[in-house]
Symmetry: C2
Subunit: 534 residues, 2 copies
Amino acid sequence: MEAKRSLWMFGLEADEPSYETRAAAAARLSQRLGVEVQAPRIPPVESLQLREPRIKPPASLAAFCRQDIRDRAYHSYGYDRVDHGVWGDYPNPPDVVAHPRSDAELEAILEWSDEGGFCVVPYGGGSSVVGGVTPPEDVGPVVTVSLDALNRVLEVDSTSRAARIQAGVLGPHLEDQLRPLGFTLRHFPQSFAGSTLGGWIATRAGGHYATNHTHIDDFVESVRMLSPRGWLETRRLPASGAGPDPNRLVIGSEGILGIISEAWMRIQLRPRFRATAAVTFETWDAGWEATRRIAQAKLWPANLRLLDPELARSSAGMGSGSALLIVGFESGELSQRSMVADAVSIAREAGGSVDDAEVRVEDGSERPTGRGGAVGAWREAFIPGASGGSLGGLAGLGVVAGTFETAVTWDRWPDLDAKVRSVTLDALRATCGGGSLNCRFTHVYPDGPAPYYTYVGARPQGLKAADAHNAVKQAASDAILACGGTITHHHAVGRLHRPWYDQERPDLFAQVLRAAKSTLDPGGILNPGVLIEP
Amino acid sequence: MEAKRSLWMFGLEADEPSYETRAAAAARLSQRLGVEVQAPRIPPVESLQLREPRIKPPASLAAFCRQDIRDRAYHSYGYDRVDHGVWGDYPNPPDVVAHPRSDAELEAILEWSDEGGFCVVPYGGGSSVVGGVTPPEDVGPVVTVSLDALNRVLEVDSTSRAARIQAGVLGPHLEDQLRPLGFTLRHFPQSFAGSTLGGWIATRAGGHYATNHTHIDDFVESVRMLSPRGWLETRRLPASGAGPDPNRLVIGSEGILGIISEAWMRIQLRPRFRATAAVTFETWDAGWEATRRIAQAKLWPANLRLLDPELARSSAGMGSGSALLIVGFESGELSQRSMVADAVSIAREAGGSVDDAEVRVEDGSERPTGRGGAVGAWREAFIPGASGGSLGGLAGLGVVAGTFETAVTWDRWPDLDAKVRSVTLDALRATCGGGSLNCRFTHVYPDGPAPYYTYVGARPQGLKAADAHNAVKQAASDAILACGGTITHHHAVGRLHRPWYDQERPDLFAQVLRAAKSTLDPGGILNPGVLIEP
């Protein structure tokens, strides 16, 4: 029942590197950054001293509530500040962690919290990188409600290709339940192994598909959410034009309006036909220009990932200065041969080089294409689970490493990219004495890309790591907003992105959101400080 | 500046049939229905006696406000009850019709109305079939705000393929402004000639594309709306994951939260490549089963219209009992030859017959395919402007004719179709002594179709036409809701669909919508009775 997410790195406990592995990685990093980095000893969870719980659930709730050190430490953070785990720093753990196993238990814990005025933090996989599941300070007792016991696929409608799924299911367990029926949700965010359906819906997660239907939003047929005022359940429909879409109130609500308990999701036939191509470009600019043309031709590839020269070099072994574009198509029904040919043709017209050996077509097999060559190298570096994600090699070193992302229209993209690179590298120099930055497109739309940046700086000497993080994040986020981007394409707002979200969203919309919250959560107990002020 | 919409039929004044044409049509209809139908004489607008205006705008607003008979009669109804025009029946016209020409004038008329507590009805093209622009009764003075003077494309971003467009532009005028630049919005609802961008956004209109991105929702990049509390303007973005999508509050709000003044819309390259096929099926069931398979294969045809045997016979000259499926692909960049071949292959596997002469591919020309044969006959019957729409031949006869539509998941579709046909024909028999009903799919999703029904009954003898309409509508709508459909896929809610919308949408969502309205329109002046109670 308990997810084995690591307390101090992105990924699972089972994938945690040993002290020796971390020490060797630290030595390599020292050389790369020119600054000495040492691997700290990480305190075992059993040795932690946590604040005593300020409340105790009544006997009627005891069967599904926990207050032990492990569970409270585990639910103290998402992934936003995993370095806290490195240092054993847990100043504000939740007082109670509830694991309801039924609608009735979910209602009971919410009712008890509402009556007591206890803050409630809904908790899926805990992969938030924006403080979305962090217990707020100065609000009194905190009850974290983990959905981990509500983790089943309840019903599958094979005719409509849809499934009713409980919100607390982790990605791999969800796929395990659909696979025997020949279906897949095909939503694979980088956090896949450690995030849940409910979390994806609450945060508008971006997933597997690089074009067309990218966000989880597009796969929600209906949703069920418990607010302190009761259940809000939408009708199962393929589409509707009846008033503002009620699903869209729930999707992206980040736990401030209610706790999502289940959803009918559009599912896919498992792909048997695939086609992939790798295209190289002499420059970054040529790469994104070709990517724009492919997106605007509406071929809707499942994969359209563009790597900048820095990333193409470090993760796919590309020659200096070249950008790499991975185009991939997949289908449960039809050969994708002509699709990939069309994409390659556009890419070549736009100046891309395609080695014929890097165009691979699989018809009628479940085996993915592109296991070798540049695509294969990229898969190894990026596919969740393959190596612990893009920051895997830096785990547990206490360095200043992180990611941020946005989406912007094409007309503003070149300016945004230039400005973001400039201010982020400046901030890394100022706080860490230097560092590096790379960019890839995770998703692409006809009217603009969703660029994803990864930065690394050494551990700052005269500064707390959190302060260095904040300085880099501040500089990058200010530039993104100033250049017309969104503060988040798929990492959500949480608490961390609030200052920029407050600029981005219309003031009157914030007022409507507050009115919605007052309606559904009159006591203001749900996730205060997320999205809007408490 | 003034739209020449007919006062008494679906379509434009220029297309109104003469009395003689209507008399001949009445004779033919009498024969078809077996009930005598006579064409009434329609009173000229100049002869109408309207209630005196109850308010007079101040001099500062006079330059863009009108109170003449023609303008007030014109803005008394949408398309929902065009038979009122046939009888010259205008009991509740607006008191003032404002035609603001700028943001400042829009602000001024809304401020004057808010201060006076006058009801405001935002008015686009007036094509509402659900009472969305009808002045409500018993609310005191009514100011209808027509957006017809705000009708320009203000800006085009060719790189991102997006345009900033004023809300009051009618479909054809919008296309006229984009055409010289090689672009098109490609949103062609059947009301195209007489509806506006703002109306499409406010009502979540369904348009040209039969699959993938079907509703106007998908083409809105950002939107600008004036509420009594001020402007709500969203950021131009290709996508975002920052909180609940603010665009989705505006889209579908049907004039109760504010007046949409402009939007950045995603536009398309004008298509040069097309491919079309016509497929016949021995039965209706075989037709929709094949349609389901094509939709689920995610080829995303622009056109995937399925006609039931009744409609295939009457509008496309098909043999008795056969269903007709029109599949069409289009692109500005790429040949659609392999796409149509894939679709035909799926259709044939599912039991469809395709004459090779009915598979047409045009590469590199702007000329649409399918001018002849079954597809051509269908085009003539259905494309807006070609013949005044599906009810064109019945215009001005005072018969009970109308349409309704829904969307439903595939698992529930067969039951819904059977029930809807049965109760609708029963209602036509009871009120009109008989009638006919046909169905087509206007839009198709992987998880379900959007069926569109057209019914015709003779003019009822012992009953008002409006009462007969209501009886048919009531029976059909009850069946739709009971069988799991939505009360509207793209005709909106307005006032007419309120009883069923109230059942369909979650109660807590209605409470949130009321809270949103109280926030943006504290005086409750905007379109009272639409979507939620006044």
